[in-house]
Symmetry: C2
Subunit: 327 residues, 2 copies
């Protein structure tokens, strides 16, 4: 056997000792404490599953980043890329007969292929919850509240949920030719008002749609934004989305509302989310530390037609925000 010094770990791996471990465990314990008190039961899906579990529900972006290998039976498997897909598979198989609504939670690693040298993690700790079988606004609020509570329990001082509803944007892109819709999506994502005005004109969007598109980048703010958005709603679906957000806003406490910013121009979850969608931002972290929303179409892909709403938080990012004294 060689006795030369051994290599370190593969790029993007997490090799954790001391405070790095303690801080992650503290985040997980705070999470499970809260989730259990809310009636959420932990599930632990396998570390690797048949690849199709992750390609069915996830967009092509995630599918390209699976860490895959061939299993002994010759079938392609992938390391867990996403808890929500694994849980959808669970609900479509083992938990098919479970009583609804079903409240499930988790905390563990997900694995993503990343280009070498980019310094990005290929194993990430995440935590989250799924509320399955309840399509109502109360369920949306329950999940938003749980996300807010865990951030408060961790004493993260300055955080915000950017909340939108995909039902407001989707009608704006309906009926457009695919290339035009793609260009608009980019403009919406960049909050580029000029490009939106150009796009709406070029594509011959109806006046009401054009007006809403141009205003989208400005539809960010507290509850009053919902009134402005309501006046711009271009279809019954868009109206319904705004009414839903207003109902949610009405159910939040004043303290919770302080952490919610409405952002009707958030488009990243198009094709995945069917109702509310949100991203979680924390002061000092230059990217979202969490994301969630309603995906009433997802579970049907796994043989279980159920409404569902949930979220995931990046445990690593939260752990790094904890003071060492807390670890």
């Amino acid at each position: 056997m060689p006795t030369t010094k051994i290599a370190t770990v593969p790029p993007g791996s997490q090799d954790l000792v001391a405070g790095d471990v303690r801080r992650r465990r503290r985040v997980q314990h705070a999470w499970f404490d809260l989730a259990e008190r809310g009636g959420y039961q932990e599930v632990i899906p396998p570390t690797f599953e048949y690849e199709e579990v992750f390609t069915r529900g996830a967009g092509p972006g995630l599918a390209a980043r699976l860490i895959r290998f061939v299993d002994r039976d010759g079938r392609l498997v992938a390391l867990r890329a996403d808890f929500t897909s694994a849980i959808a598979r669970l609900v479509g198989s083992r938990l098919a007969g479970a009583e609804m609504p079903l409240r499930l939670c988790y905390a563990g690693k997900v694995y993503r292929q990343e280009p070498e040298g980019g310094g990005r993690r290929r194993e990430l700790f995440q935590l989250g919850a799924e509320l399955i079988g309840d399509g109502g606004a109360e369920a949306d609020v329950e999940v938003l509240r749980l996300a807010i509570r865990v951030l408060k329990a961790l004493r993260i001082p300055d955080f915000q949920l950017n909340l939108g509803d995909i039902g407001f944007i989707r009608p704006l892109l309906a009926g457009l030719d695919p290339d035009g819709a793609d260009a608009l999506r980019v403009a919406i994502d960049r909050k580029d008002r000029a490009a939106l005005a150009d796009g709406a004109r070029t594509l011959g969007a109806p006046a009401a749609v054009a007006r809403a598109l141009v205003e989208l980048p400005e539809l960010i703010g507290r509850g009053e934004v919902l009134n402005r958005a309501r006046s711009l709603a271009s279809s019954p679906d868009a109206e319904e989305a705004i009414e839903r957000l207003k109902a949610i806003d009405g159910m939040l406490t004043a303290e919770e509302r302080e952490h919610v910013v409405y952002d009707l121009g958030e488009i990243r979850g198009l094709g995945y989310y069917t109702g509310i969608q949100f991203e979680v931002f924390v002061a000092g972290v230059g990217r979202a530390v969490g994301f969630g929303g309603r995906y009433d179409g997802l579970l049907g892909l796994y043989g279980a037609e159920r409404p569902a709403v949930g979220f995931a938080l990046q445990t690593d990012d939260l752990a790094e925000l904890l003071p060492e004294a807390d670890a």
Copy 2:
């Protein structure tokens, strides 16, 4: 996207919900509570590492059962097959400058390739500890005590540690031709007295060695066995091994001693362990639920020449022994 019902999980996977999760978490919490109070710090090595991490220290049996794949950089990686190897790599790299002794603990999954259809798990939860940098009998006792304490904390009613020392057996096989030594190893493992007598005669073993070999299958029992073994010790190494076990026996409390059975004929860890070795048995489980011992030669293979003693327990087996009410 297909909407047919999705397949289940790959063979040997653990897809855990409800009580199966709760029982495993209860075992892990009890473990970390105890380990932390004993000064053991948790480490979380990566889920997959360069294959050589696991092939260096492990015997060929484990090396053949690695779940391997080719990483993006073209190098072979393997899912963690064994925490001890990963920790040895850690101590040889990131923790190379750490103050000794080093007390490390862990709880998580290991992954093993198993033939399909055998129904054996390919992902197992384990927990354990390593005490690194202390070669003394007190360190052996500390680790034995920790194993006993976690089983007691879980209120496992009937358990036993079968404790031996590889230093007693190794001299009996020294200087024999390899084929002969192999046959003897099988006979020792089967506690086959007749085959041991035959083998000793055929191989022309010295009288003292032959006597010890034939008695090996009977060298099982409480402390008095150590006196019999002492009279059969065929070399200074064997004498030292028995003196070490006697010192350990003297340091155990009467309550701890109730759970210890000396078994000088235990040979499975030959080639890995260098001092004490033990297996943990629980009433109602037809195989060892844990194993441990001293491996002073292992860390040197990873560039860190340190004595070390540790153990691992099969979390799944312990979890299944907990009453549902405890979960």
